[in-house]
């Protein structure tokens, strides 16, 4: 019987959550984008109001459900629902942000419960057009807050980047992930 797993993508509006999920998903991503009608409009024409949903179908029959949490704080009631029983958390922060550390802080606070139980990786998007020091600031911010900094630049449209980020998440959950049990038994 296949087992469903869940990975949550979070981050501010325009950080690239929907794109990252689209990049990995095996199905057409279901999203609840709506025409942006507030301050978000200057960033992008549509925005996610409830969640994005994609699926990775694995060779062994398992499924990984990819949920994108809405970026605006007023939809934060969705965050608890989406993170319930999640395997791990991917936070995307844009290097174009005026204050990326403050933006990261929003998600560190909102997902503190999940992070205490499992793993977090942070992807820095839009690095070509943003501040080159963003990644370093985020690394320092996580370090100061006592959280192991796993922060990498990613292009949300580029599958190897997003895949590497998710892979880092898996190895943060279990550094020996994927090792053949028989080989492991032999090794030990």
């Amino acid at each position: 019987m296949s087992t469903p797993y869940k990975i949550v993508f979070a981050g501010p509006v325009g950080a690239g959550k929907t794109t990252a999920i689209q990049t990995l998903s095996d199905i057409e991503v279901l999203n609840t984008d709506a025409r942006a009608s507030d301050e978000v409009r200057r960033l992008k024409p549509t925005t996610t109001v409830a969640m994005d949903y994609g699926v990775m179908k694995l060779g062994n029959g398992d499924q990984v459900r990819l949920y994108g949490a809405p970026g605006q704080a007023r939809f934060d009631f969705m965050w608890d629902i989406l993170t319930e029983n999640a395997l791990g958390l991917v936070v995307l922060i844009s290097a174009r942000s005026d204050d990326p550390v403050a933006e990261l802080d929003v998600y560190l606070k909102a997902f503190a419960g999940l992070m205490a139980r499992t793993a977090l990786v942070v992807g820095v998007t839009h690095t070509d057009a943003g501040n080159r020091a963003t990644r370093q600031w985020l690394i320092e911010a996580l370090g100061v807050r006592g959280i192991s900094p796993c922060v990498m630049d990613v292009d949300a449209r580029h599958r190897p980047d997003v895949a590497m980020l998710v892979k880092a998440l898996l190895y943060s959950i279990d550094p020996f992930a994927g090792r053949d049990e028989d080989a492991e038994a032999t090794a030990s």
Binding site: T3, D62, A116, R132
Partner: protein
């Protein structure tokens, strides 16, 4: 909290060390050497493998020896499941005066270990985290972090061939600097390193850099200067055509400089990552590098324990990772006195939110296959 481990096989001790660091914030782990007639060092709890102390079978003498060894301290005794005598003794006595004892049968899991330690009252102390918080680095390890300078000295001692690469050597000298530094490569080609902001900018091509890295004796005469005024910094930066993260730049340059061959370290060393290297911007990153990084980001690991953890991996690949992670600034290295020796592998507990499906090996395998 201080935990003293005694009699445990190296693999179990390494796994427990990682577990305790994760489950009890700030927990320091002492691996105690047991000598006949001597008590274990002072600790909040002793975790003792009875078989490892030669006390697998209960007898009045074995019990007396154990109590002498514990010196009145709280202890968790690890033994076999069928060892009814020890179990009964511990359950019957439970306490020897103020001393609390618990028995845990092998093989045990994370939850059973946690429960056993809680039964000794360790989960209720102020130093204990409310939940295993693997994302939180133990404060003990953080306080022992070597400086960048000391770390670079350590890597130079461990891998003396670094001294032969002048450009890499020059760049490593700049890594400990707080200010932006300019290094003039040729008349028209320069490089700016900003360790504090984590980036490098340059106006040269990757080919020239790779050539300089490999045949970098010309770099001996290169001089670096601090860009200490904002004006100077901005003026110089305008001429730079490329900018990238410092860790990925240094990682690649070190690979170009050193090639694939490395000397075998004559000493053991301990690596602690301060951040995950920027693997998305490095070519040819394999699973092993990610795994090693994930482990060293959690807790400091020695070269020998990493080799034991990945016995199927080329030891040179592990050495190379340790070197590259250090010279790229993502890791801090500390030399240890002992030479690297074969040890059993450490085990780490998997993280998963309570209620979440516990990921099984076939899931991870399938997921990793899917991602690459």
């Amino acid at each position: 909290m201080i935990a003293a481990l005694a009699g445990l096989p190296a693999r179990d001790a390494a796994a427990l060390k990682i577990f305790l660091g994760m489950a009890f914030k700030g927990c320091a782990v002492v691996q105690a050497t047991v000598a006949p007639g001597r008590a274990l060092p002072r600790a909040d709890v002793c975790i003792v493998d009875l078989a490892g102390l030669g006390l697998a079978d209960w007898s009045p003498k074995a019990e007396a020896d154990l109590l002498l060894c514990l010196g009145g301290q709280h202890a968790l005794l690890l033994g076999t499941a069928g060892n009814a005598t020890w179990q009964d003794k511990v359950h019957a006595t439970g306490r020897h005066g103020a001393q609390r004892l618990a028995y845990l049968a092998k093989p045990y899991g994370r939850d059973a270990m946690r429960e056993a330690l809680d039964s000794l009252g360790l989960g209720q102390g102020s130093g204990a985290a409310t939940a295993a918080s693997p994302a939180v680095a133990p404060t003990e390890a953080t306080s022992a972090m070597p400086s960048v300078f000391a770390s670079l000295q350590a890597v130079r001692t461990l891998f003396p061939e670094l001294q032969r690469h002048a450009l890499l050597g020059k760049l490593l000298d700049l890594l400990a600097s707080a200010q932006a530094q300019e290094l003039r490569l040729t008349l028209h080609q320069t490089l700016i390193v900003h360790p504090r902001q984590g980036w490098v900018a340059h106006n040269t091509s990757p080919d020239v850099l790779a050539r300089l890295a490999r045949h970098g004796q010309t770099a001996i005469g290169m001089n670096a200067r601090a860009l200490d005024s904002e004006d100077d910094f901005r003026r110089r930066l305008v001429h730079m055509t490329a900018r990238e993260n410092l860790d990925t730049f240094y990682w690649r340059l070190a690979l170009d400089s050193l090639g694939q061959g490395l000397s075998t370290p004559s000493r053991d060393a301990e690596l602690r990552l301060v951040c995950m290297p920027g693997f998305t911007r490095l070519p040819g990153v394999d699973d092993l590098a990610l795994q090693l990084a994930a482990i060293c980001l959690r807790l400091p690991q020695t070269l020998s324990s990493l080799r034991a953890a990945f016995p199927e991996a080329d030891p040179q690949a592990i050495d190379r990772f340790v070197l590259l992670a250090t010279v790229c600034g993502a890791g801090r290295l500390r030399l240890l006195d002992a030479p690297p020796r074969a040890r059993h592998k450490p085990r780490t507990e998997r993280r998963a939110a309570p209620g979440a499906p516990q990921p099984h090996r076939s899931f991870f395998r399938a997921m990793l296959q899917k991602l690459f």
